[in-house]
Amino acid sequence: MNSRNWIYAWLMLLPAFVFLIAFTHLPAVTTLIDSFFTTAKGRRPAVFTGLGNYQKMLEDPIFVKAMVNSAIYAAITIPASIALSLAMALLVHRSFRGVSLVRMAFFTPTVLPLIAVANIWLFFYAPGFGLIDQIRLTFGLPSANYVGQPDTALYSVAAVTIWKEAGFFMIFFLAALQTIPLSLREAAAIEGCSRWTFFRRVTLPLIMPTTLFVSVNAVINAFRLVDHVFVMTKGGPDSATMLLLYYIFETGFRFWDTAYAAALTVVLIAILSVVGIGQFFLADRRVHYK
């Protein structure tokens, strides 16, 4: 490799980084700084509080609740959406009759705006006249208020997330599956390799780069995907679906307590950095690229 390469590398990175720094990193640093002040209100300027906002967090029951909810939500949606998306990609990456319809079905979450779709899911979940209840009623089951009960609300919201995420990730798995040379499948077929074994021993290792990509994104999205919470539950009932990001949003853009929101954001980024980025650097070395 040429020793001048690093100059080229930096030149190639430069344009992207100009934008990244201007619109992400600098504002993020401002956010970090803000988190050490109180919120400036028109009548009261911001004052430095050091870790005051962070201390406040510890005594904030909604924050604690949001953390617990986020953890549960992540534990459900991450594995489920990865597994499902992979299964869907495997299903549709070769053709059979009706495949375009099935593909289209799996694409829908990507195409339809979550805000609009959330309303539709709200209809599915609606007690009494909702789709699920209509089905339940034909089987003589009692009506259920999925998003209106604290014990089911979080799972109902998580189901929508899985619906959205699986369809989204499927696209990347689909792209990755195409890069597996046909000859490997043939070699395995001759060895009498079952679908499952081939998947586990060949496909899976070979799409590891994508799986890593998807899983890092799944982790991040588990904390990031809250659009439907706005429409479906607004964090309720009784904070049962209060997720960390939704709480940040509420604090920052409903309560206009921007400093506290900044502190919450710092916590969120810290968590994600440890989990998401840590996961990446741990796994990247073990992934087989070629």
Partner: protein, 402 residues
């Protein structure tokens, strides 16, 4: 003068067109003024956009936003009072001409900060067919809470396997339960906050009693579906025969009128001990950061827009409650009411209306109340405990302002 004006729409798309045409009419009549009316999504989006613009140093002159945002805006120091832009005469006749119930959310510290415009109040709708089927008088809705429960029991229908197919009553509790809640408490003779925006009384006896009654609707009376009931799905539940009586805003009148496959009645919110209802909706605010001349021009536009003819047009187009008695006197309005007498219920109820919960740190404080209500409704906590908790937390927040 060039003016910018942010407005939200919360009742369906036609409203946006009406506002646009209102501004165009005004500009046609006042060639010196150019108003750029910018549609800014929902109330929440509008607030976000306005505050972002203010913080970004790019504030518009005029916005319509929730009446309950008043303290927030004051706290942000982003609005100016109207008093500087009205003559003494206007002070009396114009500002003084709005329903006091609406002004309750628009004035504090002795100044007027908001001008009522797209205002509403909740009412009770009932399904006349269901009433008839249950052997009730279809022309008479419940006059009070007890009657509502009574009728509700008759209206609750179960199928062979014991599953309810029609509930007696549906009081939505998702999103912003505090609004209807204000009405229930008022109906029990209580108030949630005073007019300084610095004190709340979440756990008054009236409130605790009211909440216990509300919880009982599902828990023991068995007339309402358990859990949090979705606000947006409420009219649908009504149309589908899932609920025989619903509580929702007068803003839904047009919707119900066009979509209900049955005859319906509209009545006051049934009170526990008296009549009571909250007001809601949006006010005009003047934003800081512009010249006096611009603000004066903006104020003049608002005066025109709330004048009887314009306000009547607006009310008819949207279903909002006309904010001034003189609007109801216009010919246009009279014709409208003649064909649609239910529209009068909201107006008449205004006599009993109280201000919607509005305090400093309003959204935060309201959120505390909402959580408390939700936890009681879903059976997580007893009413008293829930409200005591909310009161304590709200006091903690508001003490900073006292």
């Amino acid at each position: 003068v060039d003016l910018e004006f942010y407005f939200p729409v919360a009742v369906g798309g036609a409203a946006a067109g009406t506002i646009q045409s209102l501004t165009e009419d005004y500009m046609a009549a006042n060639p010196g003024v150019k108003i750029d009316a910018i549609y800014t999504g929902s109330y929440a989006d509008t607030t976000t956009k306005a505050i972002t613009a203010v913080r970004g140093g790019n504030a518009p002159q005029l916005i319509i936003s929730l009446s309950t945002d008043m303290y927030t805006f004051i706290d942000e120091d982003m609005i100016v009072a109207w008093d500087n832009y009205v003559t003494a005469d206007e002070q009396k006749n114009w500002i003084g001409g709005f329903y006091p119930a609406f002004m309750a959310n628009s004035q504090t510290e002795g100044k007027t900060w908001g001008i009522p415009f797209q205002r509403s109040t909740p009412v009770l709708y009932w399904n006349k067919e269901a009433f008839a089927a249950a052997g009730l008088d279809p022309e008479k809705g419940p006059a009070n809470w007890a009657e509502m429960v009574e009728m509700g029991k008759k209206l609750t229908v179960k199928d062979a396997s014991g599953n309810v197919t029609q509930w007696g009553v549906h009081i939505p509790s998702s999103g912003f339960p505090s609004w209807l809640w204000t009405g229930i408490v008022a109906g029990n003779g209580g108030l949630l906050a005073d007019d300084t925006g610095k004190n709340v009384t979440f756990n008054s006896d009236a409130a605790v009693g009211a909440l216990e009654s509300l919880v009982k609707l599902s828990a023991t009376d068995g007339v309402m579906a358990p859990g949090i009931l979705d606000w947006g799905g409420t009219p649908k539940a009504f149309f589908e025969g899932q609920a025989a009586m619903i509580w929702t805003t007068t803003g839904n009148l047009t919707n119900v009128r066009t979509n209900a496959p049955f005859d319906f009645g509209v009545g006051f919110l049934p009170g526990l001990t008296q009549n009571g209802a909250p007001t809601g909706g949006g006010n005009f605010y003047l934003l800081k950061g512009s010249t006096d001349e611009e603000l004066q021009a903006a104020a003049d536009f608002v005066k025109w827009a709330t004048a009887p003819e314009q306000a009547a047009k607006w009310t008819i187009a949207t279903g909002y409650v006309a904010p001034r008695p003189d609007v109801w006197e216009t010919e246009t309005m009279k014709d409208y009411v003649k064909g649609f007498p239910q529209a009068l219920v909201a107006r008449d109820q205004l006599d009993y209306a109280v201000a919607e919960l509005s305090t400093f740190e309003g959204p935060k404080v309201t959120q505390l109340l909402n959580s408390a209500l939700e936890s009681a409704i879903t059976g997580q906590k007893p009413a008293k405990e829930a409200l005591d908790g909310a009161q304590a937390e709200a006091d903690a927040i508001l003490s900073a302002y006292r």
